[in-house]
Amino acid sequence: MLAKRIIPCLDCDFGVPEGRVVKGIEFRRITYAGIPWELAAEYDEQGADELVFLDITASHERRETMAQVIEKTASNVFIPLTVGGGILNLEDARKMFNAGADKVSVNTAAIMNPELVNELARRFGSQACVVAIDAKRRYLRSEEEALRAINEQREIVDTKEGKCWFECSFYGGRKFAGFDALKWTKEVAGRGAGEILLTSMDRDGTKDGFDLELTAAVCERVNIPVIASGGCGSPVHIKEVFEFTDASAALAASIFHYKEYTVEEVKRYLKENGILVR
């Protein structure tokens, strides 16, 4: 059977030579978890199924550093590598593939230019084209809001906290443009995306667990694999997302970077709870 995947996410700051994996912010200062390829090798050793590298600086000058990091990682770590953050066009993507990346993940660039998804899939194959979707709940708190949502043909989900639709954010969660995330998932799947990296902006950074209702809603709407992201604070959250949704993979950052749990420990826990992992 196909195992559920556990994916450590390496948020990379390339403002530092060789790059650094960002752990978090403590007392207003950015703290680092380590050098990307060293951490990558460590997670591989622990049994990570895949790695996602996100360039949080996403600036053009630093794309070369990202390529070097990928190249160095890929020469030593033999599991799939996904690169995201600031991939704007086919040329950026090609650079990453040549460096040894297996998939690129696009978010803002795809919203600005949806045709990019088709082009990536056509040129590099669907399997190499991940679309990252950052979604935020928009509750319908009044009759007026509900009516507007219906008029705007929003995909409305009945959650425990009330009815809502999901809005896409882009530019790293800083911008919203009225884009319906659930519609967008179907559109990108139709355009040839091979996988969706779904992040809940409500849960991201909270450690309260994945947005199960959002994840389930996306899994029901598309037939491509979905990676759940945003909010993972413990192995229990990972168990929940696999029990309550059809997500293919769970992505987490801080629980691994802070060494609260190793990938091995997470997998042992999942196995004990009847979830199939490698």
Binding site: M1, L2, F78, D102, N223, A249
Partner: protein, 201 residues
Amino acid sequence: MIAILDYGMGNLFSIYNGLKRVYDQPMLITYDAIAQLREADGIIVPGVGAFDDCVRNFKPFSEALIERVESAVPVLGICIGMQLLFEASEEGNEKGLGLLPGTVVRLPDTVRVPHMGWNNLLPRRDSVLLDGITDADYFYFVHSYHCMPRDEARIIASVDYGVQVTAVVNRKNLYGVQFHPEKSSKRGLHLLKNFVSICKG
């Protein structure tokens, strides 16, 4: 020397590095250097991308590969490089190499497509390629089409993905794996090592 055919389909960085881990003489062979295939103890046909693109790009290599297969040189096709060895694919209109009787068909809509992730193998027949590999070992798959050999005896291992997916095929010196050993961590490198042993005879 074990040759990795570089026919312009996808980056060969990982397969080269993976093979390098278990063998000291991997060599990327482009069309310009095709004469060197005569010295190869083994040949790897990698590839990612669409079937028709692969077939077209592979054409300059076809004759040399077929000749080497007939000369009993071990050949390992990986992913689309395995699909290429069959007669045809639902994904495209071009003809495959036809070295293995059978076709390549799309995975059904009842499962998520692409089949992406780690799946354990169900070994069906003994093969040196799977020495030391059991049904507890997982390999990394990513594909939307899968191989249907006409002769089921060619299937050395399959995987259960809601449907049975052909994972490893073999006919004499010809081998194919649907998964990516170069992306399957330690078990993947172990399989590459087995292929190296086959090449060394």
